[in-house]
Amino acid sequence: MAWTGAALTALVLLAVLGPLLAVALAAEGPGRLGAADLAAIRFTLLQAALSALVSVLGAIPVARALARRRFAGRRLFVALMGAPFILPVIVAVLGLLAIFGRAGWLNAGLEAVGAGTISIYGLTGIVLAHAFLNLPLAVRLILQAWLSVPSERIRLAASLGFSDADMRRHFERPILRAVLPGAFMIIFLICTTSFAVALILGGGPRATTVELAIYQAFRFEFDLGRAALLGLIQAGICIAAGLIALTLMRGGDMGGGGLDRPPLDWPGDTQRGRVVDGLAITGAGAFLLLPLGAVLLEGSAAVFGMPALVWEAALRSILVALGSTALAVGLAVPVALFAARGRGWVETLAALSISVSPLVMGTGLFLILFPVADPVALALPVTGCVNALVALPFILRALIPEVRRAEATQGRLADALGLTGWARLRLAIFPRLRRPLGFGAGLAAAFSMGDLGVIALFSAPGAATLPMEMYRLMGSYRTDDAEGAAVLLMLLALGMFWMFDRGGRVDAGA
């Protein structure tokens, strides 16, 4: 088995690095960078920094409230904080448009009282969407740090009579100092590679990200040299941000378990604290639920009247997602078995590969395929492959620690009983991997289902995935159909996650 794992690890590396190399080779000299490109670089960094800042600052009161309050529905709320991770980005954006958009609820309200209107396009909208998608992640990261404070220390504070101010000084500030830089950086990284948000809400000279510029160089100018150069720049930004994030996050855990542990009584509690916490929970709940509620409300009725194109696209998406999931899981298991045997560098590489922009990978694959085949005809397989590679680090993150645990316990027992090879894997190791595999497969399926990245580069009419078709509907102002498609897409992505995750839990025993 060892050589299979090694070979597949090498294959994955090649699949990630090959396109990067293709991009590097095809890139033109930096002399071709115009003012617009420099503006795109500046805008990418600016929007990512602002998005990360808003997400993290907004998350602090929410995490604090979750850490020190017991209330009905707390577990549900914590679970909700995991949802945007598997929610298709385009659905989230449509939901935000329904609230904050030109004809949205907020502007309707503002106009009714004669306060004018606000526009969600450009920097504001991009930051808003990124905050919607990443605030929950920031909440989870901060909450995890908060709940990792030993309960003895909180009780000690109670017995020493700590006031609200003392608690802030001796608990809150040290916790935040430790967790905020890493949380900021990981969200910054995510926001530099969130193509779909920029595609829908950005554009124009003042709101174009590097990824959006790549897409435009591709689709509108078919200037492959410039697209590759921009791809190289994007890769540079991501890898730099990824390295910093990795250093800052060391020791931290992104997966997160035990977040629903009931909080202890928080010493030094005040009436004001209770009010602030209540506002944080209701505010965050409204911010996250209203857009989704709006999509469901306005889209549910439209589902049945949608054109056949949408249903065909949905079927295509399901097939791509299933293929992508099979590939991701098929790669993840041998790589995890390989990595678990003391090869920490595989884990580090996997973590770092989160920072590879799928769009850059797509550009590289296009460059590789273009001379030998018609990339457009291969749009769906390529999308599935890139989706699988994007999901891989997340699956590995869930899988590798569990393989290590299984090896340390049942693996030793199996060795003592003389089990080897396939029998050893099947009887001793795999049973322990069902849960993380189910979870990982669910993630991969949901990611692929909701992906609007590579497909936008390659896709031709008649071969679109559901998110792509939905984007087209939005572009042609067929809002009803787009909202119907959004409901379908949301149900499919969340449903697929649920089914796989559930499959890993049922009868899992341990």
């Binding site: 030993p150 009780r155 000690l156 020493l160 009579g161 000084r169 001796h170 040290p174």
Partner: protein, 229 residues
């Protein structure tokens, strides 16, 4: 005297019910297997939990609903007794002022207490720079400055190696002699109870099934204790 009068608490299927007293200046070891309610009992005494029925008293005064900080008690945990981001002086100083705005006079008292427990000159260090034994001493120094008559000890030796255990037992015994303190110590180790306490309570499924002096325990172990051992 520390009194537990008909104190009751239900946590899920677990049901604790205790009627018992600790005379002032006595040292009681609460023994029992895990799940017997040792920690719950200490949490009730410290005020982290409130009983559903009954009263907890000290010298006749009702403590049942007092918050932890207002009770005549200090508590020492198995670990997690110090804040890692504060220096030893600051950690100890929390006993005097939780906002750490210390007067010169208070700073001098802290220094004095530190040298009492053998940590003279180490006030500027952080817990991470101390050995396990020194961390225990720093926590004891804070306990001394808190100057509360009752000391609750929650498995205080469980995380220590045998050498440190002996050292801590010695320190706790010296303190008790010097200040006439009352100890309530949760432990699962009979030897720790014998070395540092006068009485034992054996706790089983939330009840005190044995309450007797430590003396003569080995020569004539009661049935309940023998079963448990």
């Amino acid at each position: 005297m520390l009194g537990l009068e008909g104190v009751e608490l239900k946590l899920g299927v677990f049901h604790l019910r205790v009627d018992a007293q600790v005379p002032r200046g006595q040292r009681v070891a609460v023994l029992g297997p895990s799940g017997s309610g040792k920690s719950t009992l200490l949490s009730l005494l410290a005020g982290f939990l409130v009983p559903e029925a009954g009263r907890i008293t000290w010298e006749g005064r009702d403590l049942t609903r007092l918050p932890p900080a207002n009770r005549p008690m200090s508590i020492l945990f198995q670990d997690g007794n110090l804040f890692p981001h504060l220096t030893v002086t600051q950690n100890v100083g929390l006993a005097l002022r939780s906002d750490l705005r210390l007067t010169d006079d208070q700073a001098a008292r802290i220094e004095e207490t530190l040298s009492d427990v053998g940590l003279a000159g180490m006030g500027a260090r952080r817990p991470g720079e101390l050995s396990g034994g020194q961390q225990g001493r720093a926590a004891l120094a804070r306990l001394l400055l808190q100057d509360r008559p009752v000391v609750l000890l929650d498995e205080p030796f469980a995380a220590l190696d045998p050498g440190l255990r002996t050292e801590m037992v010695r320190l706790l015994t010296a303190l008790w002699h010097e200040r006439a303190l009352t100890y309530v110590m949760a432990t699962h180790d009979l030897r720790d109870a014998e070395r540092s306490c006068d009485r034992i309570w054996l706790l089983q499924e939330g009840r005190v099934v044995l309450d007797r002096p430590v003396e003569g325990l080995r020569d004539d172990p009661p049935d309940a204790l023998r079963d448990w051992l």
